[in-house]
Amino acid sequence: MSRYLLRRFGFLLLTLLLTSLVVFTITQWLPGDVCRVILGREVGENALDACRQELGLDRPLPFQYFTWLGRLLSGDWGVSFSTRSLIFPLVMDRLRNSLMLALVTLVISVPLAVSLGVIAGLNENKPVDGTISVFSLAVVGLPEFVTGIVLIQIFSFGLRQRGLPALPASSALPPDASFLEALPMLILPALTGMLVLLAYVARMTRAGVIEELKRPYVRTAVLKGLPRGTVIFKHVLRNALLPTITVIAISFGWLISGLVVIENVFNYPGLGRLLVFAIDRRDLPLIQAVTMLTVLGFALANLAADLLYALLNPQIRFG
């Protein structure tokens, strides 16, 4: 077990190192001169040279890479070209917002998706199963900007027109909003995210349940005379949900940085929108920072998935 954990952790470090190398190389290859971007077109060669010297761009590439990596690790992420402010606090603020949204989305979607999946799996090829499959697939087929706008129409404008308490249409959080203050603004984007996750998690759960139901130990449990509920909750689900748990952990990585469209529809200040903003402005240091953070998020989510799987599966825990 400890060996397994150590290996997984080693893979995580290796992944991060490789991505850092890729991110660094790509920014080297991008056309254009960083100093020209910073100083503008009208500047003379002397000023450019001074700038390059200041940023260390005249040093050999490996040296530049390790300096950059060192700064990244120590939290010195530099200054954004476009906003002229420190990157680290900016990114951390957005990360906090993204984590809040991700958490709320998971809390809403996981119980629903898993229940639907279990119900579908237990009723394989029956009308209930068909209805759940068609419904969840239809929803996942719709793009987020459509489902998001429909949700705004219903729960924000629709409710307000009838004079009922409504949810806010825009989720532009004020800076330093507490979780409780933010919660009403999180619900609609989280619901939109849920509609994306729902089909994925539900289908995974359904497949897990169907596969486990066929295993001989389920027959043993039934023929012991245990009631159906005990067989399903105590025997089947424990094994059937293992792959689902992994999927949920991995999707956490996507929720943190992949919600670009949803964040745009709801005007939500998350990491995804920050990345779009940075790309728009060709803000290299900001792009690097957000990309590295995204990769870290995905890698950690994967690690968490592996750990959870090992923890819940005695065949690995006592391998």
Binding site: P216, Y217, T220, K224, G225, Q315, F318
Partner: protein, 694 residues
């Protein structure tokens, strides 16, 4: 009259497949009394699993009882709904399933899997149920019950898993115990202790036992009465004693004549296979279901035979049973005389294969703790210094249980696994270690037949393409020449030439193994390695494959290395037999001598563990303690000393035994006990009765 515990009357069970109902079990009647063990024998496709599931009311959604009745202790089971069945399952009917490994929940501790039954059926509280679960672990002789109860299923051996399932089934003292092939996936020495355990636990209890198996030996040793199922019908029902001394149905006779018996070598008898195979459900013949394969079939067999009552409590479904009983037809008891000529002396034969001190190790990863403590990596020793010679035209059998290293040995010879040390010589030329270093001529001379033909043949190549490949690549034939030879090969393995156009999925297991054999013989090899060639096949098909191997070998003059866990199969086909345990040879003897004392204590235990197909034969029970040690923790001294029933003491633990040779027969065995002592101790052979002499 006493009501039987289980009464089945005229039961017909059908499955829906593709819109039509196929009757998998037809008009089956039998009963099991309290304290009685009823055996249900049949090959795959005979309907025995369907019958068991129907009795348990667990047929699934596409299965239905079309006619007949099932009564449990006077109660009509077919009238109960699933919720009512929950009170019967586990309490009144309990099942011990076939595959212990997959029949236990992998993520639940063993003790809990036992305790939940007790809590549910007896409304015990947690503490009481746990205590009872521990008691039952002890009662099924699990070593260290506390530890086992706290373990997960994958942490204990298959034999121990099966003990747990037996405890789970018996802990509620059910009236009916169903054992569905409980030992089929276990080694023969483990099977013996599990059968002992079952007998011990049901003795004195008034449990009715329904024992389902394909193994005639197990039936003979365990059951009081037997029903023989063929293609969904009972062909014969009798007491075990009567059935095995005078089988009345040609199918039963055929099965008994086709099973290799301990000590019967190819020089003395010739196995007689039943031609053909069990018909698939949709294509049952009219009249008697066995007619297409029956050698006694006559005109009248085209009408369906009724169940004739030949004597009280004995039923047979054959028109000609009376003639068979009088001995007018059917000569199953006369051993067919072998076509084999008397063996010549081995000394004059060239050695086709010579293994010298062959070792195969697999590296094993160190645990983190070991790595930190800088302990050297332990290795898994699969084969430890095996020396063995195969003379030209001879068959050498290698017998061992699972984990004995027999497959690693075969793979090292083939070059599929790289050997760690030692040498292999083919026709007195040293053989390169790995497959990629061997030339075409070597590949041509060395061929292999695998255990499972369904997995060994490429499912997307037609039989013709499969057979053509070695002809073209190894022998350099042109396509036209190869096509002609494919026809010859199919003819040699008794298959129609039309088979060449078929895909493996369209053929039965027996036919596929014939094709695998044809493929192996295509390049005219000097040595053919057969790894468990018949163990995936049904009993009535096995004999045909063994005879085919024998014939092809005599014709081609090839040598055979026959690897099997089945001592009777090896004993039938081999000239010389080597017994392997934990990667170490224990005994090497001529096939005829292996079954005569003195034997190595391990061979003795193996012989004693095999259930004989003869209820009257006596067997001295020699049982091995515990499980085969893990190959990472090799015992010091003699590898067998941890389980040896003839353990001497310190010498066995500390010193590696010498190879001793029996002067009269040339038998060699690896043991500290000298020949005379061993002979004296084994004066009473582990197997006696007529099986060895008949």
């Amino acid at each position: 009259m006493i009501t039987p515990v289980l009464q089945i009357e005229n039961l017909t069970v059908a499955y829906r497949r593709g819109g039509e109902w196929l009757e998998a079990v037809r008009e089956v009647s039998f009963h099991v009394h309290a304290g009685e063990t009823f055996g249900l024998v049949g090959e795959s496709g005979s309907g025995k699993t369907t019958l068991v599931l129907a009795v348990m009311r667990y047929l699934g959604e596409n299965g239905v009882v079309k006619a007949g009745g099932i009564t449990l202790a006077g109660r009509d089971l077919l009238a109960l709904n699933p919720v009512e069945m929950e009170k019967i399952w586990g309490k009144q009917i309990a099942l011990v399933p076939q595959n212990p490994g997959s029949s236990l929940n992998p993520s639940m501790r063993i003790g809990e899997q036992l305790a939940e039954v007790l809590r549910h059926h007896f409304a015990m509280d947690a503490a009481e149920a746990n205590q009872h679960a521990l008691d039952w672990c002890e009662r099924v002789h699990l070593p260290d019950p506390d530890r086992v109860a706290n373990s997960y299923p994958h942490q204990v051996s298959a034999g121990m898993q099966q003990r747990v399932l037996i405890a789970t089934a018996l802990c509620t003292e059910p009236g009916l115990l169903i054992l569905d092939e409980p030992t089929s996936s276990l080694d023969v020495t483990t099977q013996a202790v599990i059968l002992d355990l079952v007998r011990e636990l049901i003795r004195g209890r008034q449990t009715a036992v329904l024992y389902v198996t394909h193994n005639l030996g197990v039936v003979a040793q365990v059951c009081d009465r037997v029903g023989v199922l063929y293609a969904g019908e009972f062909v014969e029902q009798a007491s075990a004693r009567e059935l095995f001394s005078q089988p009345l149905h040609p199918y039963t006779q055929g099965m008994l004549a086709s099973v290799p018996l301990l000590g019967k070598t190819k020089e003395r008898v010739h196995l007689r296979a039943i031609p053909g195979q069990i018909p698939p459900l949709g294509e049952l013949p009219g009249g008697c279901v066995f007619r297409p394969r029956c050698q006694l079939a006559v005109q009248i067999c085209e009408t369906r035979p009724p169940l004739y009552v030949s004597s009280p409590d004995r039923i047979v479904r054959c028109h000609r049973w009376a003639e068979i009983q009088k001995g007018q037809v059917g000569d199953w008891q006369l051993p067919a005389v072998s076509k084999m000529s008397e063996p010549a002396e081995d000394e004059h034969r060239r050695l086709v294969l010579n293994l010298d001190a062959l070792q195969v190790h697999y590296p094993r990863h160190r645990s983190l703790q070991e790595a930190l403590l800088r302990q050297p990596a332990r290795k898994v020793s699969a084969v430890r210094g095996v020396s063995l010679a195969i003379p030209q035209g001879r068959t050498v059998g290698l017998v061992g249980e699972s984990g004995s290293g027999k497959t690693s040995l075969a793979r090292a010879i083939m070059g599929l696994t790289v050997r760690s040390s030692g040498s292999i010589a083919l026709l007195e030329m040293p053989l390169p270690i790995s497959l990629s270093q061997r030339d075409l001529a070597t590949l041509r001379r060395l061929q292999m037949v695998f255990q499972n033909p369904e997995e060994a043949l490429n499912p997307y190549l037609t039989v013709g393409e499969t057979l053509r490949r070695p002809l073209i690549t190894l022998l350099g034939r042109s396509r036209a020449e190869a096509d002609r030879e494919v026809a010859d090969l199919l003819h040699a393995v008794r298959l129609p030439v039309s088979c060449a156009a078929r895909l493996p999925g369209q053929l039965s297991g027996g036919e596929l193994q014939r094709i695998a054999i044809a493929r192996a013989f295509a390049s005219n090899p000097v040595l053919l390695v057969c790894d468990e060639p018949v163990s995936a096949l049904d009993v009535s098909v096995q004999a045909a494959i063994l005879d085919l191997l024998l014939e092809l070998q005599v014709e081609s003059g090839s040598s055979l290395l026959l690897i099997s866990h089945d001592l009777a199969v090896v004993g039938y086909l081999a000239d010389k037999i080597a017994v392997i345990y934990l990667g170490h040879l224990m005994e090497v003897a001529q096939a005829t001598d292996l079954f005569r004392p003195p034997y190595h204590p391990y061979t003795e235990a193996l012989l004693s563990a095999i259930p004989l197909i003869d209820p009257t034969a006596g067997q001295r029970p020699i049982r091995l303690a515990g499980d085969i040690p893990s190959p990472t923790e090799m015992p010091s001294g003699c590898p067998f000393h941890t389980r040896c029933p003839r353990f001497l003491g310190e010498i066995c633990e500390k010193e590696t035994p010498p190879w001793r040779e029996v002067a009269t027969t040339g038998k060699r065995y690896y043991c500290h006990i000298p020949e005379d002592d061993l002979r004296a101790a084994q004066e009473r052979p582990p197997v006696f009765g007529r099986s060895l002499t008949r």
